[in-house]
């Protein structure tokens, strides 16, 4: 709160200074800039470099940053503190100096030169915070250089796509420097990047590929855990999709651009994007982030196994492990797909296309694995179909007014058996699956029996009621006849 208030005050002050100065002292024409004249005469490297600076061409004088009076050719006057001379600005002063023009405000020259307010973005960024807490932190010149600043599209600029990796790595690969700001932050991003597909293409001169700023943004760089960050888990797919879903941009790379749409429809995508389940994988969970590359066929199982550990363990011991490796089939993907991973269904264990078993196995009597596949599907169905059928029996009993709460409650434990069986299927062994399914099948049988007994009890009650009603009604009739008999006799005695 306090920091935000200071930041706002700082920005406002800079804006006010910028506006005041812009109105009071319009940019001095270069011809009258005595600073430049004098320093060029002395072959100052800064002055020579400044001739090529993007600012020089737009009339920004030395004094606009360093202060002083550029109209005076008297050094004592021009560089006197009375005339506002500050010399080399301190690092933490630099954003304020640049912000005079690149900060907030609606002055005419900002519109003329299309100057955005990047000072506010920088102030809110992780870099801005670092500078606030440590005067040695990053500021404008850390990335853009000084005196020979060029446009981002100019290959001379340190932030040009061809240089931005090294520019960022200047600090982010420097463990000693980074320790002062975020000791826990890894410093191997550049190294990883160079191993990625992006990095390799970049090294080959392809500047269309993603660089640091493509994902992290430029002036408003935020921490990954900040929900506003483009690399916050729920934003990662959209960030990657900016390029990977753009068919025109990706033309020539020979890879599909449907991954994002596929992912959004997948069980992972729905969990992350619709349910905001941060445990669900985003692109970087499987491909890596700085070292992004598609996992090879042999490593798919390890990638999926990061979350699906039990499935991986069982698969590693299964017959499929060797068979798939021999045929260079990408493990999990063979049955579940990749970006468009759907919720696994028992229908996957089938000989009916497009079930994956049918890709290699035939149920024509020649395949010795076929009976096992049939048995395994049968076990899975015993749980799911059996559970549904038992629920129907229990519902029927409930509709008849019978209490089957215990049986219904016990069915909840079947779900655990279903989950364990669906994991055990990755062993592709009937015995393993039987072990996992047996408790669930027993519960289903017990609940089914309870439901049928309840229905039987209902019928018994109705039949019992019918019998008792008949008996009582018979007694009523007998009693009525007896009363009439008594009363007739009494009448007879009276008369």
């Amino acid at each position: 709160m306090k920091r935000s208030a200071l930041r706002v005050a700082l920005v406002c002050a800079i804006a006010a200074m910028g506006v005041a100065r812009a109105w009071a002292e319009p940019a001095t024409p270069p011809a009258a800039d005595q600073c430049l004249t004098c320093h060029l005469d002395q072959d100052s490297p800064e002055a020579i470099a400044y001739k090529t600076d993007v600012h020089a061409a737009r009339g920004v004088s030395c004094a606009d940053c360093h202060g002083g009076d550029p109209r005076s050719d008297d050094q004592d006057v021009a560089m006197s503190k009375a005339r506002g001379y500050i010399g080399v600005p301190r690092k933490d002063q630099i954003p304020r100096l640049c912000g005079r023009c690149h900060g907030p405000g609606t002055e005419a020259f900002k519109a003329r030169f299309k100057l955005d307010d990047v000072l506010t973005d920088f102030g809110g960024s992780v870099h801005g915070h670092a500078l606030e807490s440590n005067p040695g932190g990053p500021q404008c010149v850390s990335c853009h250089g000084v005196h020979s600043i060029a446009r981002v599209t100019d290959p001379r600029s340190p932030v040009h796509p061809s240089h931005v990796i090294e520019t960022c790595a200047h600090c982010h690969s420097n463990a000693a420097y980074m320790r002062d700001f975020d000791p826990a932050l890894p410093v191997d991003q550049r190294d990883k990047y160079l191993t990625s597909i992006h990095g390799k293409r970049h090294a080959a001169g392809d500047i269309k590929v993603a660089t640091c700023v493509s994902c992290h943004s430029n002036h408003l760089v935020l921490q990954v855990k900040d929900p506003r960050s483009p690399v916050y888990p729920t934003h990662v797919p959209g960030t990657c999709a900016k390029c990977h879903a753009d068919a025109r941009y990706m033309a020539g790379y020979g890879i599909p651009t449907t991954q994002y749409d596929d992912y959004r429809q997948s069980v992972h995508g729905k969990a992350l994007l619709q349910k905001s389940d941060l445990n669900a994988p985003a692109c970087n969970s499987c491909h890596g982030n700085h070292g992004a590359a598609p996992p090879g066929a042999s490593s798919v199982i390890a990638v999926c196994g990061q979350c699906h550990q039990s499935n991986e363990d069982l698969y590693e011991q299964s017959a499929h492990r060797g068979a798939f490796a021999e045929k260079k089939l990408p493990g999990c993907m063979v049955c579940h797909g990749n970006h468009a991973v759907r919720a696994a269904s028992d229908k996957l264990v089938s000989f009916d296309a497009p079930a994956p078993c049918a890709k290699c196995h035939r149920n024509d009597g020649t395949d010795t694995s076929a009976p096992e596949i049939v048995r395994m599907r049968g076990l899975l169905d015993s749980l799911t179909v059996g559970q549904t059928a038992t629920l129907a029996v229990l519902s029927h009993a409930e509709n008849l007014g019978m209490d089957v709460t215990d049986a219904r409650y016990s069915l909840k434990d079947v779900n655990q058996s279903v989950v364990q069986s669906r994991v055990a299927i990755h062993s592709f062994k009937v015995r393993k699956l039987e072990e996992a399914a047996r408790p669930g099948i027993a519960i289903i049988a017990q609940a089914n029996r309870a439901g049928e007994e309840a229905v039987h009890e209902y019928k018994f009650r109705r039949q019992g009621l019918a019998v008792s009603t008949l008996i009582v009604t018979f007694l009523v009739v007998l009693l009525w006849l007896k009363i009439r008999q008594i009363e007739r006799r009494q009448q007879g005695e009276k008369s």
């Binding site: 007014g401 209490d403 709460t405 019992g464 009582v472 009604t473 009523v476 009693l479 009363i483 008594i486």
Partner: protein, 355 residues
Amino acid sequence: MTERASGPMRWIRERFNIDPLIEFASHKQVPEWRGSFWYYFGGVSLFLFIVQVVSGILLLMYYQPGEKTAYESVRFIVTKVRFGWLVRSIHSWAANLFILSAFIHMFSVFFTKAFRRPRELTWYSGFLLLALGLGFGFSGYLLPWNTLAYFATKVGTTIVAVLPGVGEPIMELLRAGKDVSTATLTRFYGLHVAILPAAFTLILGLHLMLIQTQGMHEPEPWPGGKPRYMPFFPNFVLRDLLLWLIVLNILAILAVWFPWELGSKADPFGAAPQGIKPEWYFLFTYQALKYFPAKLAGIDGEVVGIVLFGIAGLLWFLVPLWDARTPRGIRNRFINYVGITVVLFIIVMTALGVR
């Protein structure tokens, strides 16, 4: 006749002289006229009370009061105990039919002016029996410790609290604390199985003794001018028995076709279910209180309503005192109008409450 008796009767007679009782029963007569039908509702109420006592004792074998046991034990009764479902359902249905039968009995006594001298004590004791029956219903409703019972008890006991001065202490006395809790359950259990049955049995004994000694009220004047009687034994007793069997049949059909639901266990921290209502026999009071404005002459409307109901109940109880014309044999239409108004009020308010 006495000389000819043998076997068990002789055995009893040798030990206890029952001849006066047999003599009394054989000579006792019951007026026989078009209103005689209403006499049977006293017997039906008695029968339903006996059914409740028997089924209640059976439930007692398994019921365990307590926050963690009340609901579970009732669930055990209706699901595991052989015929437990039937016993519980019959107990609940018999309770409701008892209240209905007792109301019918009370109004039949009122409209036939059977409360008049010398039967004032019978009226007072009968009124107290009905009040105790309502107490049975209110206390027994909470015992299964289900959601509806919990919140209905909460609402019911809160109504008392609006009475200025005495409301809060009465509510706390009923609840055994500030809120409905396990302590309330224990208190209601004690009321339901010990205090109320003891009080009820005593007053019922007095009520039956008064009826037997004073005899049934006779119509005044007799229709047709000529009194007619039927012997109490065996004619009236057998007819009573016949009606009891029919009621037993109705009870069995209701218990099997419409078993009393248990619902979900009460959660004191849960939200009250929507449309929570008291049992039907309290519904007319509950509904009528809704129509009272928030303030009446500067007094809380609900307080006015409860006080008015209290006064009305007291006047109803004391009707033998203020109905001065009927005992003198003067036709009194006013008392009929009062009765009809009360019956219509109860029917209309209950119907509105059920809707």
